[in-house]
Amino acid sequence: MTELKKYQSAVWSEPIVLTMGSPGRRGQRFALDRPVDHTLGELLPAHLRREKSVKLPELSEFEVLRHYEHLSQQTLGMMGVSLFGTCTMKYNPRVNERLVNKPEVAEVHPLQDPSTFQGTLEIVDSFDHMLREVSGMDRFVFQAGGGADAAYLHMTLTRAYFADRGELGTRNEIITTIQSHPCNPATAAAAGFSVITLPLEEDGYPSTEALRAALSDRTAALVMNNPDDIGIYNPRVKEWVDAAHDAGALCFYDHANFNGVMTRIRARELGFDACMFMLHKTFGSPKSGSGGPAIGAYGCTDELAKYLPGPLLERTDSGALTLVEGSDKGVGRIREFMGNLPVVIRAYCWSRSMGIQGLREAANLSVLANNYMETRILSIPGVSKAFPDNKLFRLEMTRYSLEKLTADTGVTVLDIQNRMTDFGVDAPWLSHDPWFIPEPITPEAGELWSREDLDHWIDALAQSCEEAYAQPELVKSAPHNQAIHKLSDAQFSDPDTWATTWRSYTRKYQ
């Protein structure tokens, strides 16, 4: 193993902004015809007026800029290597940022007359058609502000569908698997359904028999991802969809893990009624520290399309695009307006740049890179892979376990995660809750990273694991190269100690 590149975060000891500044400093001024007090006295009745001045910081413009730039420098933020599993870390092309920051996108009001933003609507329409091609669905909408929102759209659409058929009183169950994203059961419950969760069996996916036992005339929908985030593909998916359809249920494909199977499978051909793509993951739009501004692009068959929320695109006889309301029987809205259109534009740009051959290449490389990583990672002492008896090549992710390393050394995967950041590697993804694989860790290589980057990531893991055996305290006390030290509070769920605002903190601690 070559010596790892050194990394050290900037340390600015940046104070909380509310403690900064000095009375009378200004960061932004507004043009006024008359003094503030005069305006207020004249236009705002006393009982509507704020009594005490707001305790915000008073800073010059430069001080604000520098403060937040310092905070950005105290954020590792994919400036090294990030292989965060399930999130498909991609390059976010800056030309797309240049395009969406233009006033033709940024300064468009969503309620402008559709005739005034035909350029954007043409892009939305084109991208809808491109997603139809890769999925086989009949129509896509972009109102969902992320993957969880798209799951919620599916649950509310399922509700509208069965309500329209007069079956909602009996069809009130959603079946999913323990490997589905937590938002799937959660949105199902929030929409009013009860949830049946199938456990995994020895091959890494639930058995078809378990599915059949769960299906009944109470089943409203089957919701599944495939491959899941262990990297395992359920080969009986068609049988599953058929069985669900036989029971009268809808089938929803959460395509969060689409990257490795792009151009190889199409949701509709597998029998699904609806699917969802994450434009901020698979289609190159940025994630911005979590999920975006994001989009869960939701596609479905014509049969379900009549329940989609408005405003919906429609081409008029003149060839122009316009926006129309959805059906009264459908989902009215899950969110205001048509969606994060700048994200659609970014995804469209990414897809146009890649082309269908680029999608094929990306899928190939993400699966190839994952399996390449596996050959090296499994040679690290203390590391094993989930469901080792399933010997087939994993798709774009592999879940590993540090169970042995933890048993041998007392060092946990959380310690390893912290230690890896000392080498400029963003914290790897572990697993959604519950952890049915002990001490899990789940990298996703994707198509962005070079072999050198992948090797650096593996070297950082290997070094951290070696240290766990040789100097466990070094790993347990990590990180050592970040702006701050390891957090000491293990428990943040005590009303006496939690503080989500500075005013709460000062009351509880000072």
Binding site: A106, C183, G339, E447
Partner: protein
């Protein structure tokens, strides 16, 4: 379409070349790429002939093609816009865009608390500064939209007091109304909230408190009201609404736009139980509707806090004496940890706007918020006065309006659509038709101004309307 062969040398993919592919294939012991997909049964694989447009892998070509499409758009910088109705164009200071364009904020996903200390702090400074404007101690990270925040808050309230009816104003922005109805669920399924609409004054949209008293009882979980409301009026009876709700054990949920709060009485000082609203006014561009984002806040009171569906950042100690860091708090009650047992469900799709809003609040400070509040009030008042001078127009809003006023064109004999078409021909985006919100507002439109409208802009509107209505 040709066979799918992949793509050599694409600028977004470092390993898209023969040498890298072969080296990795050799390492895994595969002879070709197809072999790696052995998990997928043959009959699952597609033989579809994909019909995608040819790739534009050169950046200049991509830019030119997309830019040409976008140049067909008109926008609020080169047109004079009076559209509000849930999305408001305020000025976005330059450094807001600079900060949110930083790669460390723009591109990554979660790290650890220590490796992402800067972003965690920026998020904490968002909730902290918003808490100061609201006068509230507990603030969650943002939710998808204002409407989503109302929906989540109503459901929170129902979990807090175990009741299942909720009261909302009958006059509510139709986009939000539709979102709230979705969140309320369906009577055939569990967790359904019965939505009761409270009568409002048709000219101001203000809650009829006498009618509210009649509707309130011990079955009601929460009453929602907002200030400014769907017609731009500030709610003069906020304190009374909160108090009469409380006497029945009903939680009050108040919707606000934080941009008003440098001058307008805060929801915390009114002692509402839960506060919701939009953060889009705080340094977020309209983004063709992609700028929406909401928040949920409350007193730091355990029975409320335990029902939040959001993620939260808390200050926390580190292993070094005296050093502070940040951690997620109450994660266990979110759907990430508890799946269907969690509070509703959690999405994190708008957190970049939390950073934008944080920078915005730091820039404005107390005086900036006073000034922008006064500037908008001034403009709104100017708009009322100027429009009232036009023959055929009546301004219906008799109360205190922030940003938006109701304009009746009934006496003009022209439809809102005809007027807006004529305005558009003059480069002006007229206000939205209010008939969709309430049929009693047929012939009325909602006109919006912010600090970005000058006196000349309002004059231009007035001149155009005089011509059109002449």
């Amino acid at each position: 379409m040709n066979k799918l062969e992949g793509f050599d040398g694409h600028p977004y993919m470092a390993n898209s070349n023969e040498q890298a592919r072969q080296a990795m294939l050799d390492a895994v012991g595969a002879t070709n790429l197809d072999q790696l997909f052995e998990q997928i049964p043959q009959d699952n694989l597609t033989d579809h002939q994909f019909s995608w447009p040819k790739e534009l892998s050169s950046e200049h070509e991509l830019f030119q093609v997309v830019n040409k499409l976008l140049l067909r758009n008109q926008h609020c910088e080169d047109n004079l816009s009076f559209i509000g109705s849930g999305a408001y164009r305020h000025y976005v200071p330059a450094i807001v865009d600079t900060v949110i364009g930083r790669s460390e904020f723009l591109t990554p996903v979660f790290g650890t608390s220590s490796s992402d200390q800067g972003r965690m702090q920026a998020w904490f400074e968002f909730t902290s500064q918003l808490g100061e404007l609201l006068d509230m101690e507990f603030v969650g990270l943002p939710v998808y939209s204002y409407g989503a925040a109302i929906g989540h808050a109503l459901r929170m309230a129902a979990r807090v007091n175990g009741r299942s009816k909720v009261i909302i104003p009958e006059i509510l922005d139709p986009e939000k109304m539709a979102v709230v109805n979705t969140y309320a669920g369906h009577p055939d399924l569990d967790g359904h909230l019965e939505v009761i609409t409270c009568p409002c004054d048709i000219q101001t949209g203000l809650i009829d408190t006498d009618q509210l008293r009649v509707l309130l009882n011990d079955q009601v979980a929460a009453v929602y009201f907002e200030s400014p409301n769907a017609l731009g009026s500030l709610e003069i009876n906020a304190s009374e609404i909160i108090q009469i709700a409380r006497t029945q054990g009903v939680l009050s949920i108040m919707g606000v736009d934080p941009i008003t709060l440098g001058i307008v009485r805060s929801p915390g000082s009114l002692d509402c139980d839960i506060c919701v609203g939009s953060i889009a006014s705080l340094g977020v561009h309209l983004n063709s509707g992609g700028g929406v984002a909401g928040f949920i806040a409350s007193r730091d009171e355990e029975r409320l806090v335990r029902q939040f569906p959001t993620l939260q950042v808390s200050l926390a100690k580190t292993t070094k004496q005296g050093e502070l860091g940040f951690a997620l708090t109450l994660f266990e009650q979110s759907s990430y940890a508890a799946r269907e047992e969690g509070n509703d469900w959690t999405g994190n799709g708008v957190y970049l706007w939390a950073i934008a809003a944080s920078v915005y609040m730091s820039l404005l400070g107390p005086e900036g918020f006073r000034e922008i509040g006064a500037a908008v009030l001034q403009r709104t008042s100017d708009l009322k006065r100027s429009l009232a001078s036009v023959n055929g127009i009546q301004v219906l809003s008799p109360g205190t309006n922030f940003r938006e006023v109701v304009v009746s064109f009934r006496d003009s004999g022209k439809s809102i659509k005809a007027i807006n078409d004529a305005l558009l021909a003059r480069g002006i985006f007229g206000g939205c038709d209010l008939a969709v919100m309430d049929s009693r507002l047929e012939g009325c439109a909602l006109y919006c101004v912010t600090e970005l409208h000058s006196a000349e802009d309002i004059d231009q509107l007035v001149q155009a309307l005089k011509e059109i209505l002449a």
